[in-house]
């Protein structure tokens, strides 16, 4: 990844003393009368995957939005390498090598794949005093990065809106991997994906971890979280219900804590209804049903 235009290229300020790459300390966030987050603390260490789990509306997205500079916390603080920081916006978080795949992907449908890939951090080339987009390099880098994700972009000018859901997700993820030199945040990256694509995304998470980055993975699915996660943080109604390392908990306990058995049975039922002929999907539905039975 040499010569990236990204601040990604900045050397890790590795204090090496184990200070977390990114940390939220006693963070609270209010939206009017809604308490989105209350006294939430979370650490992201290098080479570790921190999974944030919780029901809809638990505050997961609010948490990662404060961590990626979309809005400041109302109380508490964000720390980068142990130093308190107040991001002026997502641009500054990105400059610290923190890149996020937002739940809505933050892609622009009527823009081409390569423009989306570099949006906000465009590589430029100077002609005298004027700086122009370096289209050639942008397209090359984008192609290479997408290929790493196992997707061949035949036409870099294709609109992102015309990509499939999985391909679009891959654009958002590969972009974040490219710019998230230090911390990669993924907000439900598997939510809109097929079973196979989910597996690919989870593989990216492990790759990023192996590159020594810190990863936050948000998901509703304990079967996605457990295999890749090192730490698990459970949110409920804006509060941390529990924080575990992998050896403190197994997948059944994790599932039990996330949701009641009835909800799982419901989920399994729905999955069965939509799974059609896909054996893998049916197997997943089956697995959920078993979880449900176990937790009742």
């Amino acid at each position: 990844m040499t010569g990236t235009p990204a601040p990604a290229a900045q050397a890790p300020a590795s204090a090496g003393d184990g200070a977390p790459l990114l940390e939220a300390r006693h963070v609270s966030k209010y939206f009017g009368s809604v308490i989105a987050l209350r006294d939430v603390s979370l650490q992201v260490h290098a080479g570790e995957v921190t999974c944030v789990l919780g029901d809809n509306g638990a505050g997961k997205s609010s948490l990662i939005k404060t961590l990626s500079g979309v809005f400041p916390p109302d109380e508490g603080e964000i720390l980068v390498d142990g130093q308190p920081i107040r991001f002026s916006g997502p641009r500054e978080a990105r400059a610290h090598g923190i890149a996020t795949v937002f739940q809505d992907l933050a892609t622009v449908p009527m823009m081409s794949v390569w423009r989306n890939f570099f949006l906000g951090q465009e590589p430029t080339r100077s002609f005298g005093p004027v700086r122009f987009l370096d289209q050639g390099r942008a397209k090359d880098v984008m192609r290479v990065e997408m290929a790493k994700m196992g997707i061949n972009v035949s036409d870099p000018n294709q609109y992102v809106g015309t990509l499939s859901g999985g391909e679009r997700q891959a654009v958002a993820i590969s972009r974040a991997v490219y710019f998230g030199a230090r911390v990669l945040i993924l907000d439900e990256p598997t939510s809109a994906l097929g079973v196979r694509q989910s597996g690919i995304v989870l593989r990216y998470v492990l790759q990023a971890r192996d590159m020594g980055r810190g990863v936050i993975l948000i998901t509703h699915n304990p079967h996605h979280a457990y295999p890749v996660g090192d730490r698990f943080v459970l949110l409920k109604l804006g509060q941390v219900m529990g924080s575990f390392t992998k050896d403190q908990i197994d997948v059944a306990q994790l599932t039990q804590m996330m949701a009641g058995g009835e909800e799982l049975a419901q989920l399994s039922h729905e999955l069965q209804r939509v799974s059609g002929d896909l054996p893998a999907a049916r197997a997943a539905a089956q697995a959920l049903a078993e979880d449900a039975a176990r937790t009742v």
């Binding site: 997502p90 949006l119 609109y159 809106g161 893998a280």
Partner: protein, 357 residues
């Protein structure tokens, strides 16, 4: 993970590529937003070239200058207005601004007898301020620019007319009788003509320059990337670090400066300005941009297309005169073109949406 069970039917890679290629063949035509406008321009040119009444004049140089003289007034503005529309905003004060800047320059020249270049420079500062006002108000209040700039439109219209009548013995025309210093050079640069018969307005060069600069800005620079994103998906853009607000403010300033350029060209041509000059023209700019392929909702469009759209308006308005049709036909023409443009844009947009799975 058991996600890669061997029982999963492997998807043939070649088949997938075929799908990509066919999808692209369909969308490729639509990918150039100015294509529709270019075709419409050719069609309209042919209509007046084939009409026996308009034909002789239409195909002469004088006829060309005639419609180009209509077109450049829309064309110079269609560039920033198109960019603004791609950035997701409107400026209904753009038309009256061409008059306000011309009037301001005239009043300054009359009142203080300054060098005309100084008056023009002060007008430029005024234009930047109006652009900042519009832009910052829209960005800060998050109100629709439609309503904010409608307010600016009325404010500017009221003040220009009021000022002119107050300072000018109730006349609605500001005429500079004793040409101040710099009038000749300013005329040569802005409002002058080149050649004798027919005389081509210098403004055509400004139109060309504005179009080329606008095209470069939109497709070759970082700011161009931000303009598309700010109009297409402002939240997404902000979340990946695009300064959406600053981009929009810049577009409002560019629009005001475009109006200043048009106003300056018109003023220096005859050293006079009329108080209601430009009022109502903002709609022509919007028509030009839409006919040129800019999406009303932002995020998609073309500078070249907007300029072609302006040329179409010029041809339609002037052509009906050459053809001796009742002049209202020009407006009917424009209406049909506008509908055509909007429908083509909507189809384009849906094309991109439908392809999503």
């Amino acid at each position: 993970m058991d996600v890669s069970t061997p029982t999963m039917p492997a998807e043939p890679g070649a088949g997938q590529n075929d799908r990509v290629v066919t999808a692209r063949a369909v969308t490729r035509v639509f990918r150039r937003p100015e294509v529709g406008a270019a075709l419409a321009a050719v069609a309209i040119f042919l209509i007046f070239a084939l009409d026996p009444v308009s034909q002789p004049l239409w195909l002469s140089q004088a006829g060309l200058v005639g419609w180009l003289t209509q077109a450049w007034q829309f064309g110079i503005m269609a560039v920033p207005v198109g960019l603004l529309m791609i950035g997701g905003e409107f400026d209904l004060s753009a038309g009256v601004m061409t008059g306000s800047t011309a009037i301001l320059t005239g009043l300054l020249a009359n009142g203080f007898g300054w060098n005309i270049w100084l008056c023009i420079a002060v007008s430029a500062v005024f234009a930047v301020l109006v652009g900042l006002f519009n832009g910052i108000l829209v960005v800060r209040t998050k109100l629709p620019s439609f309503i904010v700039t409608l307010a600016t439109f009325f404010i500017l219209r009221g003040t220009s007319v009021g000022l002119v009548e107050a300072l000018n013995a109730n006349s609605t025309v500001v005429t500079v009788l004793n040409p101040p210093a710099g009038a000749d050079s300013a005329r040569a640069i802005f409002g002058g003509t080149v050649g004798a018969s027919p005389a081509y307005p210098v403004a055509l060069i400004w139109w060309l320059v504005a179009t080329i600069l606008g095209m470069i800005l939109l497709s070759r620079t970082t700011v161009g990337n931000w303009i598309f994103a700010a109009g297409g998906e402002p939240n997404a853009a902000r979340n990946v670090g695009v300064p959406v607000g600053a981009t929009k403010v810049l577009l409002f300033v560019l629009t005001a400066l475009g109006a200043w350029l048009v106003g300056t060209i018109q003023f220096t041509a005859g050293l006079s300005a009329v108080s209601e000059q430009g009022v109502g023209y903002e709609l022509y700019y919007i028509v030009a941009a839409v006919v040129g392929g800019c999406l009303l909702t932002g995020g998609y469009g073309s500078v070249l297309g907007s300029s072609i759209g302006a040329a179409i308006i010029g041809m339609a308005l002037q052509g009906v005169i050459y053809a001796r049709w009742p002049s209202q036909w020009g407006f009917a023409f424009l209406g049909i073109l506008l509908l055509f443009g909007v429908i083509v844009n909507a189809v384009t947009f849906r094309q991109a949406q439908r392809a999503r799975r």
